[in-house]
């Protein structure tokens, strides 16, 4: 079905770069030339044969830190996205199918959470919580789950009123058949398309938190944290901070390109094999 020639160039570029980042994240200890915290040269040393991207504010190899940074960035973003998806879609589907006061209560609570800007609310909560990876993932995942909840609920509500669901109810089918066999297969493609966008949001959100000094704590650093470490060099014309910042942008663009392609494919899809 998936004909490689049919994939547009932009999506191919996106796929290639995303794969590259994933590879770096997975095999960081094997491909990084130096250790993560190892001081190997001068402060903000220039690009050279031994240090392909130069060195950072403490004289650590920037390329190695970028590779380890990819690992931390992608790990946290994936974990937070997974959490937000599981939480949001399970609650969203339940609200749509069960309805009644359960739906009302959960939906109003989500409205309330969403009436505070996500970043602001995260900052409020992080002001009292300990700065650990688990906190970070939980805060990001739960706040983002509100958006997934809204989408999942809306999609499921739309499907739930379709005649084929009514037909299943008239047949006497149980609730699990209706959720898993009638609704879920039809809700999957909009949710999958949303997955990419939520991941990008998680990457950008994590980077912003770390940049503000409230995300991943030193000596470990995700890309946002590396921007913070190296930002003071900018006024001296040292562009080290732009390398992790650019990597974040590149990762986000790559995933965006892939998500865009998936979205275009699925939005035309009326069902079945997708070519009717």
């Amino acid at each position: 079905m998936l004909d490689l020639k049919r994939i547009p160039v932009s999506a191919l570029i996106g796929l290639f770069l995303t794969a590259l980042f994933l590879f770096a994240a997975l095999f960081a200890p094997w491909i990084a030339p130096y250790g993560n915290g190892e001081i190997v040269g001068d402060v903000w040393g220039p690009i050279s044969a031994t240090h392909l991207l130069g060195t950072d504010n403490l004289g650590r190899d920037l390329l190695s830190r970028m590779i380890y940074g990819a690992r931390i960035t992608i790990f946290i973003a994936v974990a937070a996205t997974a959490l937000s998806f599981i939480l949001g879609s399970v609650l969203g589907f339940t609200a749509a199918v069960v309805g009644g006061w359960l739906d009302q209560t959960m939906s109003r609570f989500v409205d309330l959470l969403m009436s505070i800007p996500t970043l602001i609310f995260a900052l409020v909560v992080l002001s009292v919580l300990p700065s650990t990876l688990v906190t970070l993932i939980l805060v990001m995942g739960i706040l983002d789950a509100t958006r997934v909840y809204r989408l999942a609920r809306a999609v499921a509500v739309d499907i739930n009123v379709m005649d084929f669901v009514e037909a299943a109810k008239l047949r006497g089918e149980g609730r699990s058949w209706i959720i898993f066999r009638e609704i879920l297969p039809n809700a999957l493609s909009p949710l999958v398309a949303e997955l990419g966008l939520r991941f990008i949001f998680a990457v950008l959100f994590l980077s912003a938190l770390s940049f503000l000094g409230l995300g991943v704590q030193p000596p470990n650093a995700d890309w946002g944290g590396m921007v913070k470490e190296n930002k003071d060099g900018i006024v001296f014309g040292i562009p080290a901070a732009l390398i992790p910042a650019g990597a974040i942008a590149l990762l986000a663009i790559s995933v965006n390109l892939v998500a865009d392609w998936v979205l275009n494919r699925t939005s035309d899809l009326k069902g079945g094999r997708g070519n009717g």
């Binding site: 602001i120 503000l212 900018i234 732009l242 910042a245 974040i248 986000a252």
Partner: protein, 320 residues
């Protein structure tokens, strides 16, 4: 006849906004008070003796039940008293005044550039739909929604402040500054903010206009032999205003959030910088106050968007 219905709907929406604001204040208070974490401990540090902690807790009223502390806090907020900062003991309301003004000034400058630009580009994209301009605009939109604020910000600093030295790298402002100097100081953060919201606003404007242009009544107007200009002015615009205002308001709300990061990049003395500083210091009263103000602005903008939509709906203005 129509006006009473409209007034009622608007009153309902305003009441909902106030209710939401109270609920948000509860949430923000709960978020900082009930979660594990102790203000007294944060102030005195890990080495504090239990006796010292207990004394401080008593002085701060931390031993009272949470709801009493909430109403005490809320009562203060409603009378303009945000309490004092734990970190330096200064009055929060005093510190906020100037910073709020600075933040609003920065956001307003960004809005003044981005709103007309986004609407213009959105219109262009619709006018030359699927053409080169449209493709370029949507490509730019895709790229710019993926760029973190600090990437744009530091790129601008490196180029315009360090290389060309047109603007300062950090946006220091003070009260005695002239308007021109102030504008020069905030030029780079304003441009950064503009670039951050522009793409999103443009995309949404395009979608809103496109939606109107595909209506059957636009076809009717075309089949009456009206010119493109007349169709847009008489038939598209009256119906497109509400969705466009909606788009603008939602993006201004988005801009308020973007301000936090941008202020840190440019070391700009606004609310965002103030918030971030005090989150690191775990200065809860300041975080609560600033969080509430940000949320209030956000809720207010969303409320305006809804009210404009109510006002622009002919079905509500002229009920049966």
């Amino acid at each position: 006849m129509g006006s009473t219905l409209i007034l009622r709907l608007i009153a309902q929406r305003l009441a909902l906004g106030v209710l939401l604001l109270f609920a948000v204040s509860v949430l923000i208070f709960a978020g900082t008070q009930i979660l594990p974490g102790d203000v007294a401990q944060s102030i005195l540090g890990q080495a504090a003796t239990p006796q010292a902690l207990e004394n401080l807790r008593r002085d701060l009223g931390l031993n009272d039940p949470a709801y009493i502390r909430y109403f005490r806090w809320l009562g203060g907020v409603l009378t303009g008293d945000f309490g004092t900062a734990l970190s330096n003991g200064r009055d929060i309301a005093d510190a906020l005044g100037g910073r709020l003004k600075n933040t609003l000034f920065l956001a307003a400058c960004a809005a003044v550039i981005s709103v007309p630009l986004a609407i213009l580009l959105g219109l262009l994209a619709v006018r030359y739909r699927n053409g080169v301009i449209d493709k370029a605009i949507s490509g730019f939109a895709l790229a710019s929604t993926s760029l973190p604020e600090f990437f744009i910000g530091y790129l601008l600093i490196l180029f315009f402040a360090v290389e060309l030295q047109w603007f300062p790298a950090s946006s220091t402002v003070f009260d005695t500054m002239s308007f021109g100097a102030r504008i020069q100081a905030i030029a780079l953060p304003a441009i950064t903010l503009t670039l951050v919201v522009l793409a999103h606003m443009m995309r949404m404007t395009r979608a809103a206009i496109l939606n109107v242009m595909q209506s059957a009544y636009i076809e009717t107007a075309e089949l009456k032999g009206l010119s493109a200009f007349e169709i847009i002015r008489n038939h598209a615009m009256p119906n497109a205003v509400a969705p466009i205002v909606n788009v603008v308001m939602l993006n201004l709300a988005y801009l308020i959030v973007g301000v936090v990061v941008v202020e840190v990049i440019f070391v700009y003395p606004g609310m965002g910088q103030y918030l971030v500083d005090h989150v690191s210091k775990r200065d809860v009263p300041v975080v609560q106050a600033v969080g509430l103000i940000f949320a209030a602005v956000y809720i207010g903008l969303n409320m305006i968007a809804d009210i404009v939509a109510i006002l622009a709906n002919p079905r509500l203005r002229h009920p049966k």
